[in-house]
């Protein structure tokens, strides 16, 4: 095993990888931007190197400076986390050139699967079903390609991931505008504006298979994650097993994912994403050549530490188990707590976290990148923390997730916690019968004041909220504003309150 590893990321995933290093007896060191000097991942690492300014391109995306930092601190390997440099094949190759082990797939496999068009071809060759689609298109040839596929269709960034640079187009008239938007978003996110078109599968579930390969050519899968609860292709909640998957279908999709990974010469952790249509047919969507945000869901049903396994494989160790030895049990759910306001169109929020108290207890884990006092800056993605719960069955996991959400204290910045409170308390999530349209179809009603279970609980607690607000007002105005009441008297509320100095 390595003696020292550079964790080349920030936020919750850097904290997660630092913890895996500690558990392996590896010294974790990290990098930070000038804006992140005081952030949690810096505090938990043995050392941290300031690689540049707040903007990602100056710091976390600056490959040469990141490699310089690794060498300055004596790291032998580099774990990229997700995002930033994680799926950059050139960077992975550059690490190798400069004598650093890159914790991830070989650069060649990464490049092939990172290019969505090439990935499609690999899938077809491996006999994995794909949705019909085009090659790379630009303004000129997009119309022709679109006509061949038919509407609705999706524009996708060739270099994409996480829904960046993706657009749904329902009619020919909006194709040109959407194409420009997708290209500019792709350029901004990946420095690569290439896009292609794909038939849009209506009402699919998003189901992905976790795969792992080692240097000896062994590839296994660790079951699926259902990521159908998403908004604008950003996942919000993931679970395993999928409520829509039978053991037979799991084996079939797992086999397909393993064939694809083998065909791509894949090694280390990867995820094969599929669309599952309402008739139970699945189509290859893309392969993520990295650790996923939602990897803990698989950790909790498989009992494996996927980050530790990544590090072991990067250090040349074998997987240590075969497909029949993979044992999946129970159910797990992950909630992505982001700094976005679900009651205001999920607009991102920034500011200082006043209080953060994660949930805890049996079956609850929280991977957070923040603590009380942390600053949420506009420079990076808004993921604050992930609550991951597990239980013997889906219903226990759901109840635990709800318990965890209600226990969590997160104030100072708007977050998706109230979104999860309502989703988890609602009947649709309970039933397990939903698809990727869940948020757009159900959130308007769930998020309204008149919604079901969750909102009733909210109404019941309203008097306590009023009292807390009143107490806070009183505190802020100073105790001299108090109206003395003779002991034993009842409250006398007469007319409109007097005008008082406000210090809100």
């Amino acid at each position: 095993m390595f003696r020292r590893v550079l964790v080349a990321n920030r936020g919750e995933i850097a904290v997660r990888i630092i913890r895996a290093c500690r558990d392996l007896g590896v010294s974790p060191v990290t990098i930070h931007s000038a804006a992140d000097r005081d952030s949690l991942h810096v505090r938990l690492a043995d050392e941290s190197f300031e690689v540049g300014g707040a903007a990602s391109r100056d710091s976390y995306l600056n490959g040469e400076r990141v490699i310089d930092a690794a060498r300055a601190m004596g790291a032998e390997a580099l774990h990229p986390g997700y995002g930033f440099l994680a799926e950059n094949g050139e960077f992975a190759a550059r690490c190798a050139e400069r004598g650093l082990f890159f914790v991830g797939p070989p650069p060649e496999a990464m490049r092939r699967m990172g290019d969505k068009a090439a990935a499609r071809e690999t899938a077809v060759r491996a006999g994995v079903p794909v949705v019909e689609g085009s090659g790379i298109v630009s303004g000129k040839d997009a119309g022709r390609a679109a006509a061949g596929i038919g509407f609705p269709l999706l524009i996708k960034a060739a270099a994409g991931g996480g829904g960046m640079g993706m657009r749904l187009v329902r009619e020919a008239a909006s194709l040109a505008d959407s194409l420009r938007e997708a290209q500019s978003e792709a350029e901004a996110a990946f420095g690569d504006s290439r896009v292609f078109l794909e038939r849009f599968v209506e009402n699919p579930r998003h189901v992905e298979i976790q795969v792992f390969g080692d240097d000896r050519g062994s590839v296994v899968h660790l079951g699926e994650r259902d990521c159908s609860i998403q908004r604008r292709n950003q996942k919000l909640l993931e679970e395993s097993p999928s409520p829509a998957i039978s053991p037979e279908l799991r084996a079939e999709m797992g086999d397909a994912a393993v064939r694809l990974a083998e065909g791509a010469g894949y090694r280390n952790a990867g995820t094969v994403e599929f669309l599952l249509d309402p008739d139970g047919r699945f189509y290859f969507l893309e392969m993520n050549a990295r650790l996923q945000v939602e990897h803990p869901v698989t950790e909790l049903v498989s009992g494996l530490d996927l980050v530790a396994l990544q590090l072991r494989i990067a250090a040349g160790e074998p997987l240590g188990f075969t497909q029949p030895e993979v044992s999946l049990s129970g159910a797990a759910i992950e909630l992505r707590i982001t700094a976005e306001d679900p009651f205001a169109g999920f607009v991102p929020a920034t500011g200082r976290i006043r209080e953060f108290r994660p949930p805890d207890g049996p079956g609850v884990r929280c991977d957070a990148g923040i603590v009380s006092g942390s600053v949420v800056s506009p420079h990076y993605d808004p993921l604050l923390a992930k609550i991951i719960v597990s239980g013997p069955d889906r219903e226990t996991a759901r109840k635990r997730a709800l318990r965890a959400v209600r226990e969590t204290r997160l104030t100072g910045v708007a977050s998706t916690l109230p979104f999860f409170e309502r989703v988890l308390a609602g009947t649709v999530f309970c039933s397990g019968e939903f698809d990727t349209s869940f948020v757009s179809v159900h959130w308007p009603a769930l998020g309204s004041a008149e919604a079901d279970g969750g909102a009733a609980a909210r109404a019941e607690l309203a008097p306590l909220a009023l009292a807390a607000a009143a107490a806070e007002l009183w505190r802020r105005e100073g105790s001299n504003a108090t109206t003395p009441c003779p002991p034993g008297s009842r409250w006398r509320l007469t007319g409109i309150a007097e005008a008082h100095r406000e210090r809100l």
Binding site: P378, L473, I496, E502
Partner: protein
């Protein structure tokens, strides 16, 4: 201390009385009329109503508004003074109502990547007016009220700070 608070558009009268120093207060509500006890806690208050005690985080995001969080629920309360004719409505961005006009401001630093509507155009509440990019995500900023776009300050591609004015929506009867 007596006050009026607005929650979800409804008016509530409250009265606060100190109990044990500044750390514990009793709060009277019109309805149910019973006393609640609030104790200062890190990040807010713990509130007891009868046999139920909850933790309430209390913060302010803007002047005149308190955000209370209890058990995964969020409550936005407006204080009586300064809220003319009741609480403000929340739009997609930071909408500030002043004499019927709604000012829409940038929620955080970023830039406008597309203008969907222009100054002088009529909009319905909820109509998309422009696309704002921040934290690598593009978000549509919508009109908080129906009316006319009176003052379009946003221009495409210009970096903006948080809290800058994007545009104003004026009610139709005024415009």
């Amino acid at each position: 201390m007596r006050r009026v608070l607005f929650l979800d558009g409804k008016e509530h009268r409250v009265e606060v009385r100190a109990e044990a120093g500044d750390a514990t207060v009793k709060v009277g509500l019109e309805n149910p009329g019973d006393e609640l006890v609030a104790r200062a806690a890190p990040g807010g208050w713990t509130v007891t109503e009868g046999r139920r005690t909850v933790e309430a985080g209390v913060t302010s995001e803007r002047t005149g508004e308190l955000v209370v969080q209890i058990a995964g629920h969020t409550y936005r309360l407006q204080s009586g003074r300064g809220a003319v004719g009741g609480p403000r409505r929340r739009g997609a961005g930071t909408a500030g109502a002043a004499g019927g006009r709604s000012e829409v401001r940038t929620p955080m630093p970023g830039k406008v990547v597309r203008l969907v509507r222009e100054e002088g155009e009529q909009v319905a509440a909820g109509d998309g007016v422009l696309v704002f990019e921040a934290m690598k995500m593009q978000n549509e900023i919508r009109a908080p009220e129906s009316g006319v776009i009176a003052n379009m300050r946003a221009t495409r591609g210009t970096p903006m700070e948080g809290g800058e004015l994007l545009f104003v929506v004026e009610p139709l009867e005024i415009a």
